[in-house]
Amino acid sequence: MNALLELEELTVQLPTPAGWVKPVNGISLEIARGEALGLVGESGSGKTMLSLSLMGLLPAGARVSGQAKISSANGNATLLSSLKEDEWRRVRGSEIAMIFQEPMTSLNPVMRIGEQIEEAILAHEPNLRKDLLHRRLLNAMEHASIPEPEVRLQQFPHQLSGGLRQRAMIAMALAPRPKLLIADEPTTALDVTVQQQILALLDRLRRELELSLLFITHDLGVVAQVADRIAVMYAGRIVEWGSAEKVLTSPQHPYTQGLLAASPTLERKALTPIPGVVPQLTHLPPGCAFAPRCGFRRDKCDEGVPEFRGPEPDHGARCILL
């Protein structure tokens, strides 16, 4: 596989009054060029902390171990996990960019949309000629399918609808031409018809620009639309991974099965909730973190964290029952 991003045993530790916790715990995964990986998890799963570690935006005091590597076009690789703050500036935005759930909190409310996108370009190419800068700006807005770009670039964020704001965020993220786009619940705050448009846009960009996508969501329906492969996170670890089709249609881990059974669909069904709540990272069970909520639990579940086992080489789960 022509991997753009490779994580090997990536671990993030954060200090808390109760000691160090690992919101990201030994994550290994790969994303190929032009591939969309869906990272599925509920609150507290560590999915957002994982994405922040790839942007060099971890809270102060965080400790990172393991390896995160992104390859450049010239064949060189950048080791993200050992970058210094000034080196992050070169990578953040230009190699890896990120869009968030609520564009209104990420856009500057007192700055015109055009200026904000220009600023993103100038951060990486400060000496760009003015006419080229304008062309790059319009190009970015075109990529994000913003209608009437010459009008919109003069406007402020509050003058745009939610969908257009998310498009402006996408234009800003893509303007420095990153290879990997991390999208953290980018459609959760949007209406369903607008969500559909944004998902279609991301899919098109992926094909046209060979952009790789790390798509973070709790919504299994959304991930089914965008992802080639899915990794399911629970309490800091990946508990199941595989092609989107296999993970969603023949889930192997009881947590993935539970999430599917608990997700409402247009067809009325007997929803089966997962009992209990996500464990606190300060009080993780000794073995499988899902064991206390699992209907298939047995003594062996507490004897250590299960290794990946799979029905097939491209589909696996951390469960002793497999």
């Binding site: 609150s43 369903v192 099965q257 608990a262 669909t265």
Partner: protein, 270 residues
């Protein structure tokens, strides 16, 4: 058949725009809810679905008389709600309670959970003794799945799903007939949201509740609703039994909404 709730030609407009320093910029009237009529029978769950700005929240607030409609009528068990004032309105309000979207914002952080749940009793039944209030709060909390240790704790000590249970206990302690639930699970994780949806179904049967569910999520609505009304730009463009709306919608916009729902591929049987 007598209805619990009848909504007749309800209308609400707001003034939008305008500039107090510039007479050239005139304010315009904006119709938030436009001539909406429907009725809800006892034991039904009537869901209002719509995207942001469709007017569904304004409609719910008018039904609870939190805001006044410009025109139209509201009947609760054949009584004209809009004519009620003072003590009569207070008595009526006992029959109608609300469950809010955000269990983090809707519970007073400085009150103990026991007080939060018992507060409606203190307001509506001032002669009910403190000990009895506490007993009833305890029973209601147990019914929604929280043990009596919750009584003396504060909201921040609970998870999102537990807080939503506290909000439900508070809404039900007066034994209302109608419960308006505004996006009751949209702030919760999937696994916890399913717990709350099931709880709402159980409580409906047990306490003979009628629900008015406000939601943007068709999959959530599909689980609970017996009837669905679709709103767009202030108008109720289509309503009817859930099966009909979900399987054979007659309005193009309803079909568009349904088509936009991202679907999970069907699981193979294991």
């Amino acid at each position: 058949m007598s209805y619990v709730l009848e909504v007749r030609n309800l209308r609400k407009t707001y003034v939008r725009g305008g500039d107090m320093f510039d007479e050239g910029r005139k304010a315009e009237r904006f119709v938030a809810v436009d001539d909406v009529s429907f009725e809800v029978a006892p034991g039904e769950t009537f869901a209002i679905v719509g995207e942001s700005g469709s007017g569904k929240t304004t409609l719910a607030r008018m039904i609870l008389r939190l805001i006044e409609p410009d025109s139209g009528a509201l009947l609760f068990e054949e009584r004209d709600l809009l004519r009620l004032t003072g003590e009569e309105l207070r008595a009526q309000r006992r029959q109608m309670q609300m469950i809010f979207q955000d269990p983090f914002a809707s519970l007073n952080p400085r009150m103990r959970v026991g007080e939060i749940v018992a507060e409606p009793l203190a307001i509506h039944h001032p002669r009910c003794a403190a000990a009895e209030r506490e007993e009833r709060a305890k029973k209601m909390l147990e019914r929604v799945g929280l043990d009596s240790s919750a009584l003396t704790r504060y909201p921040h000590e609970f998870s999102g799903g537990q807080r939503q249970r506290i909000g439900i206990a508070r809404a039900l302690i007066l034994r209302p007939k109608l419960v308006v639930a505004d996006e009751p699970v949209s702030a919760l994780d999937v696994s916890v949201g399913a717990q709350v949806l099931l709880l709402l179904q159980e409580l409906q049967r047990e306490f003979h509740l009628t629900y008015l569910l406000i939601s943007h999520s068709l999959p959530v609505v599909a689980q609970l609703a017996t009837h669905i009304g679709v709103m767009r730009s202030g108008q109720l463009i289509e309503y009817g039994p859930s099966n009909l709306i979900l399987q054979r919608p007659s309005h193009a916009y309803t079909r568009e909404l349904l088509a936009a729902v991202p679907e999970i591929p069907r699981a193979r049987q294991v």
